[in-house]
């Protein structure tokens, strides 16, 4: 059953990635051009109908998928790199570095992420760069929290001690000794963070502080078409369902991975 879920998730996720990569080839229309009648139903225009400006919904969703997946992956890569580096730095240095980093991470984590992001984006203004940086900083605290105890355990291990005595540099044993040991936990956490980042960016865009018009990610598409739902159109639900499909497939893969490597279930 789990294996079936896993295969289904892999297939769905691969399809989504391919759809995002080849969006310009697959999309029947340009995403920002009015090609149908406004609010055209699926039968009248395009596969999924049109929005209030007559833009093709299916094409917009394909391009929205690019933003959603692109931003989530970028954020997760940046956040894991920052969080893991800082966790190992703290485990190695101990002392003030450790205490200060710990306090900073606690402080950031003690405030709900979406609230923190709203405050920072209000101040910094919304652009792709501020958006990705803000999300990456917030997400890196979670990588830090998961990896800090793992790092401490690994640093205390005999073979690391031996490497240290042998006079190897910090970079060497990070690459050769520590990362291979921490990999399963890290990969599981990475998957969980991607699915969270997808919900996070979708939420921010839905609130209007994410990807800015005329471009739209999946959350932004829901926002744009929200009014159509009150007149009985289902079009805003398609991008929202697409978001759920991404998180479901990522969660399915992570779930299989966690069981395969019997990693603690308390991650994330």
């Amino acid at each position: 059953m789990r294996r079936f879920g896993f295969l289904l998730s892999v297939a769905a996720f691969a399809a989504l990635i391919l759809a995002a990569l080849f969006a310009p080839v697959i999309a029947p229309f340009l995403p920002n051009e009015p090609v149908h009648a406004p609010y055209a139903t699926p039968g009248e225009g395009g596969l999924l109908g049109a929005d209030s400006l007559g833009r093709d919904m299916f094409s917009r969703i394909l391009f929205g998928l690019r933003y959603t997946l692109g931003i989530s992956l970028t954020v997760s890569v940046l956040a894991s790199f920052t969080g893991v580096s800082l966790a190992f730095l703290a485990a190695f240095r101990r002392g003030w570095t450790d205490i200060l980093l710990g306090r900073l991470v606690d402080a950031i984590m003690s405030v709900p992420q979406i609230i923190f992001a709203l405050v920072v984006l209000a101040v910094a203004g919304v652009s792709l760069v501020t958006l990705i940086m803000t999300m990456a900083v917030l997400e890196s605290t979670l990588f830090y929290r998961v990896m800090r105890p793992v790092a401490a355990d690994i640093v205390a291990m005999d073979y690391v001690e031996v490497a240290r005595l042998r006079g190897e540099g910090l970079g060497w044993y990070l690459r050769r000794e520590i990362l291979p040991n921490a990999a399963p936990t890290l990969i599981a956490e990475f998957g969980i963070r991607i699915s969270y980042a997808v919900l996070f960016i979708s939420g921010l865009s839905f609130l209007g502080v994410g990807v800015q018009p005329p471009a739209a990610d999946l959350g932004g598409l829901v926002r744009e078409n929200a009014l159509a739902i009150s007149v009985g159109q289902l079009s805003p639900l398609a991008p929202a369902a697409c978001i759920a499909l991404i998180t479901l497939s990522v969660n399915g893969i992570v779930d299989w991975f966690i069981h395969k490597y019997s990693i603690r279930a308390e991650l994330g």
């Binding site: 405030v111 609230i115 929200a226 009150s230």
Partner: protein, 329 residues
């Protein structure tokens, strides 16, 4: 003579002092980060207010009026001293006192969150306990499946599905909370129904999973094994032996659920245009009304940190052995 009793009290006091201090430090650090962030970034409140075409003279004058020409630390201390007394300055968009704008919205949000909690907690905690009692039954599997589904859904999807079904198709409730806030209980039920149901659906999955895990953890202990060996029925073991011991965990799970409800409220308020603190904050972000955004952020942070503190505190109160309270995930 009374040394022993004082000694008994001290873990409690230690906890309150240390967690209280660390919560306060977190809050201070967050406000300071936001403040320093504001200062470091290009553009400030004055340029946000006057827009792109402002003359340098006008900008300088406004900065003087707003006190933006003062040193950063002084400005921070000034803002902090006022904020502690409940004075968050004036809203840049409406010119009214921030606290005057904030309070009614806060009331609306707390009403929404607490009504949702009243329905959510029994459903989710009860569901979690039932899932643990009948572990691996079809009921447990069904709950596991629905939790997985709801945890993967963005909050607004739940909201819009409800709007589509109950407001558009059935026409039972309004799709937006635009009705004026009078007309007694019936009007309130009408406005609150769909946002509350959304919040219950969104929040229950996590709470149910945590409750189930907490009960199952207790069921894995030696004294439960002992009770099983003695031949006591599973239901009795859970209700008489496991549940009291899982109580502290369930209590903190419940309070953390309420803390997360208050955050979920932000998105749900936008879906239903419900005039709460979350919608105020998001609207203020788009107007770049920084004083209101800061005050809302501080209030949300305060509520969230306070709830986390309360969760750990109650867990300790119910279970004195738990000297090192688990951090809420």
């Amino acid at each position: 003579m009374n040394l022993p009793s004082r000694k008994q009290l001290s873990p409690m006091r230690d906890f309150i002092v240390s967690r209280g201090v660390s919560g306060a430090v977190s809050l201070l650090l967050v406000t300071f980060l936001v403040f320093v962030g504001t200062a470091l970034l290009p553009g400030d409140t004055a340029s946000a207010l006057l827009g792109q075409n402002a003359t340098p003279e006008a900008l300088a004058a406004l900065r003087r009026d707003l006190g933006l020409d003062q040193p950063l630390l002084l400005r921070y201390l000034g803002w902090f001293a006022h904020a502690v007394r409940g004075d968050f300055g004036t809203s840049l968009a409406s010119g009214r006192a921030v606290s005057e704008v904030l309070l009614p919205r806060l009331g609306n949000s707390l009403l929404l969150a607490s009504v949702a909690a009243v329905f959510l907690l029994p459903v989710a905690v009860g569901g979690g306990i039932a899932a643990a009692i009948w572990q691996d039954s079809w009921f447990d599997r069904l709950l596991g499946f629905t939790s997985m589904l709801f945890l993967a859904m963005p909050a607004f999807l739940v909201g819009y599905i409800l709007i589509y079904v109950f407001a558009v198709r059935m026409g039972w409730f309004p799709s937006m909370s635009v009705a004026p806030f009078f007309g007694g209980a019936a009007a309130w039920i009408n406005i609150l129904a769909l946002p509350v149901i959304s919040l219950v659906i969104i929040g229950q999955a996590h709470t149910m999973k945590l409750t189930r895990t907490a009960i199952l953890a207790v069921l894995a202990t030696d004294y439960v094994l002992m009770a099983e060996v003695k031949g006591i029925s599973r239901r009795r073991i859970i209700l008489r032996h496991a549940l009291p011991n899982a109580l502290s965990a369930i209590l903190s799970i419940s309070i953390l659920t309420v803390a997360y409800l208050i955050v979920d409220v932000v998105v749900i308020e936008m879906v239903f245009s419900y005039p709460g603190l979350g919608k105020l904050m998001v609207d203020s972000v788009s107007y770049r009304d920084l004083t209101v955004v800061q005050a809302c952020g501080l209030l949300f942070a305060l509520i969230f940190i306070g709830m986390n503190f309360l969760a750990d505190f109650l867990a300790l109160l119910v279970n004195p052995r738990q000297r090192e309270p688990a951090r809420g995930a």
